[in-house]
Structures are given as C-alpha cells and as structure tokens.
Amino acid sequence: MKKSQILTTSLIITILITTGLLSGCTTSTNENDNGENFKFALLDGTTAELNDYRGKIVILDLWATWCSPCQYQMLELKKAYETYSRDDLEILSINVESRESNTDIENFLNQFEEYDYDLEWVFGNEIDDTKKYKQKPDSGIPSICFFDRNGEVIFKHVGVMMFDELPEGWTGDETLLKEKIDEFIIQ
C-alpha cells in the first residue's frame, strides 16, 4: 500500500472517530433534564417556562393582588432580589387568581412604584397549574417554592417569609429567606 494511501485512510478513520466522539457532545442537554417545568404568561403577552431559568436558584412566589400578606412578601422578596446576582437567583411571582388580568398586575406594580418600590423580577399569570408547588394543594397564599439549579423542588413554604430579620412580636414561621437562599446557592 502506498504511503499516500495509508495517510488518506488514516485521515478518514481519524475523522470518523472524531465525529463519533463529538456527536455525544452535541446531544441536547434536555434529555438529561429531570427538573420541573411549567408554563406561565408574562405581562407582555408572551409565554415563559420554568426551564428557561435553569442554572439558577428560582423562587416561585404564588400570590394575588387582593392578598395583603402577599403585598408584604413582595417587600421581602425585593430585599432578596437586590442581594443576590442574577446568575444565581431569579424570582417568579405568578398570580394564581384566575379573575385577575395582566392589567390588574400592572396596576399593582404601578402602585408599588409610586411608593418607590420597584419590583423588577419576573411577574406573570398562571397557565399550567401550580398547586403542586404549594405545601399542600389547598394551602393559602403567599406560597413560596424553591427550585435548585436543575429545576428540582428543594423547599416549600406557606405564609410570609421574612428576608433576614423577624419583626418584633412576629408569631409566624421563623424560617428566613436569606438562610434558605444561602443554603441552596452553595449546593
């Protein structure tokens, strides 16, 4: 066999082997995604999904505009949003009241803005049912659910969660948002 033929054959074999090895690297990571997913409607009318936020700790906040404790929860979530990098943490506040529209949510946000509270994270309306992310399906609101960077549920809570400090005389749950975020961010 001539040298040139040997070289050509070797080159072809090398290309075939390399292609075979690299094809494994181009396999879609979705095949290995065992995390949770659900769709929700953004305020601009488009649709988003939980798996759009893979790679981050996600706080799912289930709420409604009529819910006063939910309004207070927004203030505590704002502290969390301003403390952590967008690479590490995202917050999804999904309205679970079917009677409330995107306009109701926008009006709600505008009222907060008038008091200089800019709530800048992701807000939307429910499309897929989110009840399974409550502590129990009939739990009240606000309901908080943490997802890890792979989209798996790691923590659920019902009622207001303070960020890093409990108000004097507070008789609610003493679990703090900051402690939980710190715990999950380093995992």
């Binding site: 009529w66 207070y72 009677r99 609101i141 009622g159 108000p167 008789t171 609610g172």
Partner: protein, 166 residues
C-alpha cells in the same frame, strides 16, 4: 320652514345629550351589612348588599379569609347573592378557616351595562385577640406583622379610593 327644522334639530340635540348623560350615569351605590359585625372563625355570616341600580341582573361576593399573624390568605370562589325585595341581595356563608383573623370581601354587580366591583377588598376583623401585636399594656409596644400589614393595606386602599373620587 327653516325655523321649524332648527327647532326639531334643537329638540333632537337636547334629547341626545340627555340620553348620553343618563346612559353613562355614575355607578350605583352599594351598602353592605354583615351579621355578626365581628364574626368568629368558622362562623356562619349573613352578608347583605343594598344596591341603588334598578337594572341589576346578578350579584356575587368575592370573599377571602386571612390570618394576619402568620400572613396567609385563602380565597373562596365567587358566591352568588340572592335577590330579595327592595334591591337587597343576601348570602349566607360559613367561614372555613379556624386560624383566620379577618376576612375581606368585594361585591360584584352585573347590570345591562356590564360588571362592576364595589367595596373592593373591604376588611372585617374577627372577634379574636391578635397575639402578635405584643403586650398591649406596654407603652413601648412595637407593632407586629399584623399592624404593618394593616398599615400597608390601608395605604393601598386609601390610594385606590382617592383615585376613584377624582
């Protein structure tokens, strides 16, 4: 002839203006009574709405129960109110959460002009003490969550009412 046409036009214009004014008249007045005035958890309450609008076709009440100590709220589905005499609508509702400390309600009225909300998110305290407000005998009492939540709610409600009056 020209005078007669002008007269007809004038009458028509006045009638049209009158029609516009009356067809876009201000929203109805709704007065709500709740018995008992301060309910207890899991009690059955009677809620009555007196509505001035004569063209009411349906009335509902949206009701939520909340715990101001732990910061949790629960919603009920829209509850139909039954029409009585004299444009009064009433509903008997059994409260369902033993840990609630207050309820909120909104009256929704349907007329031939569409839907309208009244008394939006009006708060009614239950007949129980709120332990998280601390020692009420202490002059240095620091308000607890419920006070802060109430203050925030009042702030928002005041803003809404102010905007409606303008």
């Amino acid at each position: 002839m020209k005078h007669k046409n002008n007269k007809i036009l004038a009458i028509f214009a006045v009638a049209l203006i009158g029609f516009i004014v009356f067809s876009t008249s201000s929203m109805a007045d709704v007065t709500v009574d709740i018995i008992p005035v301060k309910p207890s958890p899991e009690e059955t309450i009677e809620i009555t709405a007196k509505i001035t609008d004569e063209n009411v076709t349906a009335v509902y009440v949206e009701l939520q129960e909340c715990n101001g100590n732990t910061g949790i709220c629960y919603s009920q589905e829209n509850i139909t109110m039954t029409g009585m005499i004299g444009n009064e609508f009433t509903s008997s509702i059994t409260l369902t959460h033993d840990d609630a400390t207050y309820l909120q309600y909104t009256i929704i009225v349907q007329t031939d002009q569409g839907w309208a909300e009244y008394n939006k998110d009006t708060k009614v305290d239950y007949e129980i003490s709120a332990p998280n407000n601390g020692n009420t005998d202490d002059d240095n009492n620091t308000p607890g969550f419920e006070f802060v939540s109430l203050a925030l709610s009042i702030m928002f409600i005041s803003l809404i009412l102010y905007r409606r009056k303008r």
